[in-house]
């Protein structure tokens, strides 16, 4: 996949920034000392990452980790002191103010933690704001804004003022305002953090639905690891302005780069992060035989039968004979270990794991499942 946004060794210091200070930090000066002695706050330090087209990329960190600053550098609201941000192959550093405005109007839209809806506009006018700024004619922008509102389930509230809506509904308006532009890139700054847990989950589902309909590149800032794991294709962990590690949740869990990463995942429910392919084992026996041949007897272990292309066909239970695949519970890749527990626990033999084309990848036994969860925790 091609990278949509790339960030290359970006630095951002607030206060009196200088190349010399960055050099000091690079050679190991303590940012805390710098803050105390020079009043300079190092918000982002030497961060590089690539965001691929069509993925939900979560930047995750606690408050003060520099993640919001990082997000604002992607659309040029904040410009880096050093380093380069490239969007769709174009560097932001060299852009003039009108070019930046064009980029924001057509390539990326932002959703805010505080919703940031305009109190003097009604819901429809809020949703149409980006289109209005981009100079779209009234009729066309009203239609598109209305479509966006319908998509987030707020068509009935179009004439209301934002303050008449609940928090969750307000953020739906915020989302509609971004979606109305139909931007290839969505920037979401802790977009769901201010919402109640149940509403937050609804909004996450809405985002995942939207993503299933039409893949956008989403950069999502969050301080909630559960949220990051739930919606993120990949997660970048940040701490004190530095990037700790950037990978899928599963790989972060299985191969943490350092203790800080491990600490983040300490309280995470392993079973919901790990997927079955991470713990799958090869089937107990592989042998080739033709149709009509007598079955090899294997003394008490189930045998898994595939065709020549590895497509799973069924299995042979000891003493019971042939069982067709239609009667067997299987797991497909991408299923979380948590969801697999039930299937594995109620199956009399290790459960086969199949890929998208029904090929047998291996099996999971109850024993492996328990071991994996133990090791992860």
């Amino acid at each position: 996949m091609q990278s949509e946004i790339s960030i290359e060794s970006v630095w951002k210091l607030f206060g009196k920034s200088s190349a010399e200070l960055i050099e000091q930090l690079r050679s190991g000066a303590d940012p805390e000392d710098l803050h105390a002695s020079r009043g300079v706050r190092a918000a982002v330090q030497d961060v590089s990452m690539e965001v691929r087209a069509g993925e939900i990329f979560v930047v995750m960190g606690l408050s003060g980790s520099g993640k919001s600053t990082l997000l604002r550098m992607l659309n040029g609201l904040i410009s880096p002191c050093e380093g380069e941000v490239t969007v769709k192959g174009r560097s932001l550093n060299s852009m003039t103010a009108p070019q930046l405005a064009e980029l924001r109007r057509h390539q990326m839209a932002m959703v805010f933690q505080s919703f940031a809806l305009f109190p003097h506009r009604n819901v429809l006018e809020n949703a149409a704001f980006g289109l209005e700024v981009a100079g779209i004619a009234r009729k066309a922008r009203t239609d598109r804004a209305m479509q966006a509102l319908e998509r987030v389930g707020l068509a009935a509230e179009a004439r209301k003022r934002p303050r008449e809506l609940s928090g969750g509904m307000q953020q739906r308006v915020g989302l509609a305002r971004a979606l109305a532009l139909d931007p290839p890139i969505l920037l979401m700054d802790e977009a769901f953090s201010a919402l109640d847990p149940l509403i937050r989950k609804d909004m996450q589902d809405l985002l995942l639905d939207l993503q299933a309909e039409h893949r956008r590149t989403v950069v999502f800032i969050s301080h909630d690891l559960d949220e990051a794991i739930r919606i993120g294709d990949r997660i970048a962990l940040m701490q004190a302005g530095r990037l700790l590690q950037c990978d899928t949740a599963q790989r972060l869990l299985q191969h943490p780069a350092n203790n800080e990463v491990r600490r983040f995942f300490r309280d995470v429910d392993v079973a919901s992060v790990l997927t079955v392919e991470a713990i799958v084992q090869p089937p107990p026996r592989l042998s080739v035989c033709d149709v009509g041949e007598p079955l090899p007897d294997d003394g008490g272990v189930a045998m898994y039968v595939t065709d020549r292309l590895q497509h799973f066909r069924g299995l042979i239970r000891p003493g019971l004979g042939w069982v067709d695949m239609a009667a067997i519970k299987t797991l497909s890749i991408g299923t979380s270990v948590k969801a697999a527990i039930d299937v594995v626990a109620t199956s009399s033999e290790p459960v086969p794991v199949l890929d998208d084309e029904q090929r047998l990848l291996g099996v999971i036994s109850a024993r492996q499942l328990l071991l994996a969860m133990e090791a992860g925790g």
């Binding site: 659309n75 609201l77 103010a97 009108p98 930046l100 405005a101 064009e102 980029l103 924001r104 109007r105 057509h106 839209a109 932002m110 805010f112 505080s114 940031a116 809806l117 305009f118 109190p119 003097h120 506009r121 704001f129 980006g130 209005e132 700024v133 981009a134 305002r177 532009l181 920037l187």
Partner: protein, 299 residues
Amino acid sequence: MTLILAAAHQPGWLGQAIDLSVEWLLANAQGLFDLIKVSVLALVSVTEMVLEWPPAWMFALITAALGFWRVNGGFALFVLLGFNLVLSMALWSEMIATLSLVITASGLALLIGLPLGILSARSRLVWRLVRPCLDLMQTMPAFVYLIPAVMLFSTGAVPSILATLIFAMPPVVRLTHLGIIQVPDDLIEAGRSFGCSDRQLLWKVQMPSAIPTVMTGVNQTIMLSLSMVVIASMIGGGGLGDVVLRGIQQLDVGMGFEGGIAVVILAVILDRLSQSFAGRRGSSLQQRLRAWMAVWRSS
């Protein structure tokens, strides 16, 4: 004792410098002042002509209707009773004269003040220059403006309007500036993130959010205009102030009181009407009409 009093009457070096500069202006920029005089006079004459055109009853009805639309029924009733009182005191033409002075002066004050407020909010340098001027304009005793105004424009409506203009402008500049700079940061950021240019940010985000504060400034400017226009009767501004002034000069309590009451009525009407544009109204016109119909039927 007499010596000290005599010394106090002499202008100091600053006063002399100001005297000199006013004299210099008179000698060298007479043409400019004539131009200002003629245009302001034309403006106030046209305003007065327009206000005098409808008969008193029609004027009162129009104002009451406006009051019913913007404020409420009780206020409309007040407008009718108030104007009736003014009419019965035979002060109608004086009130119209005062009103046209107020409209001209506050109109000019807004014409200059609003852009100045916007400019102050957008440039820190402009604000740094404008702010001490505003402080000076607001704290200087109002009467002081009358002296140079008379010297430059002699007596009558024009110097009254110009003195009023200076006296009444600060609130609208200050509150426009305040309204714009106190627009929440996240709204500014949202505007920017959707690609607003500076101009779009001003007209689509900052000004609409600032409107309630700006309108409070407009209201204050109008009210200050009214108070100054009354004072400006001392330099021949005419209108209700003239009635009050004559009451003072002739120690005629009744006349002074009548003039004062008329000023109060005008003040209340101007205040409520201009304030109604500052905030959102509680209930829509339709709702209030329905409520009134209900009252009508039940009685």
